[in-house]
């Protein structure tokens, strides 16, 4: 039976409607996996060398034992975010003459096919075989292997269990990260030590190998708890996320902008109520840390804005770019509805500009914490901000009129490349190059502030021309409406 299920899975992949897209996605994910795998192998084999360097004052074994629990704590948090619950695929089988036990076995087996269950093998096993096996003997090495596998299995099913009980969200992950971070800090300041605890656990196993049997016991218990939970709740609606009561919201702030404001509010709800667009905007907040890589003290001291302008523009404009690259397609499921209703194309485009301006303004305000590095950076950000709301918005919306690919926004965010096309890459080129072209002459003349002013001025000019651009893009959209709507209907 299991093999039948798996063969159906295989068919569903190969015969899916957007096969090309999903294969491309798989290949990209494959590369990522390979990349991480290579790193894992490298780290795994290099551990005998790395560990003494990182923890010079202690025995290699102590260090190795110490990092195991840390690794699995992070593993746990990563899984909480990234590991999917394999559920939807079983709906067609639930009403058939197939015992629940078999369906559960299938779900459990499928859950094991995850990259998270591969990395630990490459990370820890080389050290175990090369070092522990040689020093402590094969029995201890075997117990280590069993322990690592068990913790891995435990994490695997524990995360699924938590997800099934829908007691997980991004907040929990953040809290978890904070907790692990706190422990690391406590470790650093030598208040309490997880490493010592981790070491204690595993060093006990070295002296008394039979203690290692506790790990598979715990893993088996988790497996049984998870399976029992599944058996009791094998109903489609109970396996997904729990429904909470939805409330109507209104953004009075946007009402003052008339119809464009209404449309912007509509889109704001779209962003807030779907994972994928929310994610693409939140990424902008994460990229705020980018500045720490680029804003180096010597650059700031010498006013070398050329080296920092990319970071500034990227940080303040990333949200526009990452959300805007799929522009209009976010609304593909109800694009027909927008067309037949009394919505002026100009208002529609105005709404988009408004939304972008609001998002970009918020991000720029958030980015002003870099002022503590140097207040000069605020000027840099101001120039980048004007460039983004003036030029980047126009560029994104113009290119959006070439995007005919439907997006299903209800699907998950991570590793979702649906709707990607050449436009997204073309978008990057002028976005990155133009500010350099404007700045460069001033940079050569050693007039960095004039360069910033030029970029800002360019943004202002584009901003002053906004109504022209609104008309222009609205016209484009009007011309292409049939083609866009047709693409979105598929």
């Amino acid at each position: 039976m299991l093999s039948t299920f798996l063969s159906h899975q295989r068919k569903s992949f190969w015969r899916s409607r957007n096969k090309g897209g999903s294969i491309a996605t798989q290949i990209i994910i494959g590369f990522f996996m390979l990349y991480f795998l290579v790193i894992a192998v490298g780290v795994g084999f290099g551990m005998t060398i790395f560990l003494p360097k990182i923890f010079p004052n202690q025995n290699v074994m102590t260090s190795f034992n110490g990092i195991i629990l840390y690794y699995f704590a992070f593993d746990f948090l990563m899984r909480l975010q990234l590991q999917d619950i394999p559920t939807l695929s079983i709906i067609p089988y639930l009403h058939l003459k197939i015992s629940k036990r078999k369906i559960i076995n299938f779900l459990n087996a499928k859950a094991l096919f995850s990259a998270f269950n591969v990395w630990p093998l490459f990370l820890f096993f080389p050290f175990i075989f090369l070092k522990i096996g040689a020093v402590e003997g094969p029995l201890v090495a075997l117990m280590y292997v069993i322990a690592i596998l068990s913790i891995m299995v435990f994490n695997n099913y524990f995360v699924l269990y938590l997800k099934r009980k829908s007691i997980t969200n991004i907040l929990f992950t953040l809290i978890g990260l904070a907790i692990v971070g706190t422990f690391a800090a406590l470790e650093y300041y030598k208040v309490i030590s997880i490493m010592a605890a981790s070491n204690f656990v595993f060093s006990q196993m070295t002296t008394r190998p039979y203690l290692g049997l506790i790990f598979p016991g715990v893993a088996a218990a988790m497996f049984v708890i998870n399976s029992n939970y599944l058996r009791r709740n094998l109903y489609v609606e109970e396996m997904g996320a729990k429904q909470e009561k939805k409330v109507s919201t209104d953004y009075p702030f946007l009402n003052r902008f008339g119809k464009a404001g209404e449309l912007a509010a509509l889109e704001l709800k779209l962003i807030l109520r779907h994972k994928r667009p929310r994610y693409s905007v939140i990424m902008g907040a994460i990229f705020l840390l980018y500045g720490f890589l680029f804003y180096k003290a010597p650059y700031i001291a010498s006013d070398s804005f050329a080296k920092m302008i990319f970071a500034a523009i990227f940080m303040t404009g990333f949200s526009i770019l990452s959300y805007g690259q799929f522009m209009f397609a976010w609304q593909s499921s109800h694009f027909d509805g927008l067309l037949i209703n009394k919505i002026d194309f100009k208002d529609y485009i105005k709404g988009k500009f408004l939304l972008f301006t609001i998002i970009c303004t918020i991000v720029t305000i958030l980015a002003s914490f870099y002022a503590f590095l140097s207040p000069k950076l605020l000027l840099l950000h101001l120039a980048a901000y004007l460039y983004n709301i003036g030029f980047c918005t126009v560029l994104v919306l113009y290119l959006a009129t070439f995007n005919y690919k439907r997006i299903d926004i209800t699907r998950s965010a991570s590793f979702n490349f649906q709707g990607m096309g050449a436009t997204q890459w073309i978008l990057m080129i002028p976005f990155v190059l133009l500010p350099y072209l404007i700045y460069l002459p001033f940079g050569y003349l050693n007039r960095p502030y004039l360069g910033l002013m030029a970029i800002g001025f360019f943004g202002l000019v584009m901003l002053a021309m906004r109504s022209y651009w609104i008309n222009y893009i609205a016209k484009k959209l009007e011309l292409k409406r049939y083609k866009i709507a047709e693409g979105f209907r598929e």
Partner: protein, 230 residues
């Protein structure tokens, strides 16, 4: 003549999906479009609503080509499928949004909605759900109510009776009949009983062509049944 169709054609590849030489609809008529799957009903409606570009010909709404400007949107409301709903909104938000496009205040919208409490059967408003979480029948109700709320002169509905429960089907029929005369209604349906009951004029299409166009009388249902059973 509120709606005129002239020499309208839509060709996909080598297949002509819609091919209508001439169709005239007078203001206040209630017209039913009947035909088997693949007869081109939805494609035809989409062209009426300027959602797809005709290969040839034109649709005139109050004498103006719907492709040339959006004035027809001021007095035309429609519901073809769920793609017309913004499904991540609550029904209230959706009604308020549609209302705002026609300059209705929030108070206007809620006043309007009170008369539909029977139609909604207590399941739509204050349900604490997004439209996407509703059953298909309830989604259709939201779509139809939002269309009627715009007080349109032309109403276009694609298979409005499908997915509705019997009670709501009857209520919808009564709603549509009550509007007859004031509003030009154009509906398609697979339900011959309902369509002959509601409509004063029936247009029968097959493979994109109009093969019959007649006023309904007591024999219409039988005529249609004999046509479709042949």
């Amino acid at each position: 003549m509120i709606l005129e169709v002239k020499n309208l054609q839509k060709v996909y590849g080598d297949k002509t999906v819609v091919n209508i030489d001439d169709l005239q609809i007078v203001a206040g008529e209630t017209v039913g479009l009947v035909g088997n799957n693949g007869a081109g009903k939805t494609t035809f409606f989409r062209m009426l609503l300027d959602l797809i570009r005709p290969t040839q010909g034109e649709v005139l709404s109050k004498g103006e080509n719907v492709m040339h400007n959006g004035d027809w949107k001021n007095y035309t409301a429609s519901f073809l499928d769920e793609g017309f709903l913004i499904d991540y909104l609550t029904p209230e938000e959706y009604f308020i949004f549609i209302g705002s496009l026609h300059n209705m205040s929030v108070a206007d919208v809620s006043a309007y909605l009170t008369q539909y409490s029977e139609f909604f059967n207590g399941e739509i408003l204050n349900s604490g759900k997004y439209i996407r979480d509703f059953s298909k029948g309830n989604q259709v109700k939201v779509g139809i109510a939002a269309a009627l709320m715009q007080k349109p002169e032309i109403l276009i509905l694609d298979e409005p009776f499908a997915n509705l429960d019997p009670t709501t089907q009857i209520r919808l029929k009564n709603l549509l009949k009550a509007q007859a005369g004031n509003m030009t209604t154009f509906i398609s349906s697979h339900d011959l009983n309902h369509v002959t009951d509601v409509c004063h004029r029936i247009i029968l299409v097959e493979k994109g062509r109009i093969i019959k166009d007649f006023k309904t009388d007591e024999n219409t249902l039988q005529e249609l049944e004999s046509y479709f059973s042949a």
